[in-house]
Symmetry: C2
Subunit: 169 residues, 2 copies
């Protein structure tokens, strides 16, 4: 709960590298995430190469801070390995990849690392940069590194706007 | 990290009710979740009514244990309020609703409560039971209550199968 309360989206990073053991710990948090039918239909690409990070920042519609972090994670979903019919209508790969990354962001924060969910990116460009095949979808990116800012809490809706009791309407 | 390591999917529940203050705490964990453009395009329906819980269990392809828990949460995504172009190709409502529920499952575990992501359900039936409008999507359900089992850890892939360095291929 403390990690949830104090986590922030970090958009400014120190150049300090993430130690191997710490990286492994936060990747392990993703690994432990639940998934539909326990299919675990996702992969994460860990990018440390400076030029590739810059290209990913450009592919993320120019969000330059992404390349500042020690590394960038690119989270992919594998529709072909996923549970096909969440709710009878969609593949689970988006949900499963998201749970894994959410676990990782909280574990990273507990380790003093910052992350920032990136939704604004061009999938085809990211695909091209990393050699991601056609049947694999890019769900999200995040920088991962040591924060160089301590942002204020961003506003949230009240519980009354988010929670409904017994019937939607 | 401890919550991530020890959380399990719980499929057997005690009838004990979830105190109001504890419910509020775990819903607050969902409320604090990040979302694309901070749009928070989701709502959770909290169901305590016994008959409605049983109907939701039936709509979840007969997973009876769902109705055993003190309450059932139905997590909805609001495409019309979401960031429209994650990766240039999808609405963020699935990701945003999933992050919120993942936060909640970890906070619930920290409070001694059990949850179980339900992916196998019929959206149209759930919609009918709760009066969920056409423009709102049902992303997941979970029972929420006190566990009456302590399941073993379920197997996970090795990190080597999930993590790739520098390039996908």
């Amino acid at each position: 709960m403390d990690a949830i309360r104090t986590r922030r989206s970090i958009r400014k990073y120190k150049p300090a590298p993430v130690p191997e053991s710490v990286l492994k710990e936060v990747l392990n948090a993703a690994r432990l995430a639940p998934s539909a039918d326990n299919a675990q239909p996702w992969k994460m690409v860990v990018v440390r190469d400076e030029e590739t990070k810059v290209r990913l920042a450009v592919a993320s519609n120019g969000q330059k801070f992404i390349a500042q972090a020690s590394l960038v994670l690119v989270v992919c979903g594998l529709p072909d390995e996923a549970f096909q019919t969440v709710g009878g209508y969609m593949s689970s790969h988006v949900i499963d990849a998201t749970i894994a990354l959410d676990h990782l962001t909280l574990a990273a924060h507990a380790q003093g690392l910052g992350t920032c969910w990136i939704a604004s990116f061009k999938e085809d460009k990211v695909r091209e940069i990393l050699g991601i095949p056609e049947d694999v979808r890019v769900i999200a990116l995040t920088p991962l590194g040591y924060p160089d800012e301590t942002p204020e809490k961003s506003p949230r809706k009240n519980l009354e706007e988010l929670v409904i009791f017994e019937r939607y309407q």
